[in-house]
Symmetry: C2
Subunit: 136 residues, 2 copies
Amino acid sequence: MSNEIRRNMALFPIGIVMKLTDLTARQIRYYEQNDLIQPARTEGKQRLFSFNDVDRLLEIKELIEKGLNIAGIKQVFDLKAPITMETEITETSEKTRKELTDKELHQLLKQQITNPGAFRHGENVLLRGELSRFFH
Amino acid sequence: MSNEIRRNMALFPIGIVMKLTDLTARQIRYYEQNDLIQPARTEGKQRLFSFNDVDRLLEIKELIEKGLNIAGIKQVFDLKAPITMETEITETSEKTRKELTDKELHQLLKQQITNPGAFRHGENVLLRGELSRFFH
DNA sequence: TGTTCATGTAAGGAAACCTCACTTGCCCTT
DNA sequence: AAGGGCAAGTGAGGTTTCCTTACATGAACA
C-alpha cells in the first residue's frame, strides 16, 4: 500500500535511468512514445521515473534482446497484467499513480515530515526510518 | 552488503531531494558546505544524492528543528557513528562509498544487466527483481 | 551596537533535458 | 534491385534545472 506509493514515487531524471538500465535516452523516449511506459513529469516537462518505471524498462530491455518488437512487448504486458490478480485494483492503482504521484505525493511526504511528531513511530512514516526499510 | 551499495547509490538530483525533505536548495548546499553530508557529483558537477544522504538530511532537519546548530549536529553524528559497531568497517564502507559509487557502481550494474543470463536467478542481481525487494 | 549564524535572494553561466526533424541500418516484400 | 517500415542515431535550437559567488537579512547574543 504505502509500499506501492514508494514504488511509484517519481524520483529519477532520465540521466540516472540511462545508467541504471543502460538504455539510451532515445530508446527510453521512444518506448514512452509507444506507450510502454508513462513516466511522470516535472512542471517544466522533464521526465521523472519511479522504481516501477525502471523495473519495467529493464523488462522491456530483456524482451528487446529476445528479439521482440514493440507490438510484441505490448502484448506481453497486456498478458502479464491480469496475472497480478484483480485487474481492476491494478487499474485503479495505476490511475492512483498517475493522479497522485505528480500532484500530491510529495505534498503528502512533506506534510508527514513538517508535521513533526504527528507520524513518528507510526505506520505512516514514508521516509526517515521507512527509508531504511526500502532495503529489506 | 549489496544492501549498502543500494543505499549509497547516487540517484537523486537536488530538486527531488528538496521535495523529499522539504529543505531548500540553499539549506542542503549549506549543510554540505559544513560537512554534514557529502553527496556525489555528476561529471558536470551537479549533486547526486543517495538514500543515505536523504536519510541523513532528514536527521539534520529534525535536529535543526530541535534547536541544534551545525556544530551540535556534527557532534551528534560523531557520537552516533561508533554505535553502528565496528567503526573501522564503517569507515571502510564510507571509503568504498566515495570511491565506488561515483566511478564504478553504475558500471557494475551495467555489466550485470548487459551480461544477460549470467547473473539471473543469482544472489547478485542488483536491479530487476531486486528492485522489487527494495520495498520489503 | 556589532558579530555570528543560518538562510534568503539575485546574477550569470553551465549542465541536463526537451521536442522536432532528418538520417541510418536492417529486415522484409515485391 | 527498389521500396517500405521499424528501431534507433544524430543534430539543432530552445527550455529547465542546477551551479557558484556574492551580498542581504533577521535573530540571538556578547
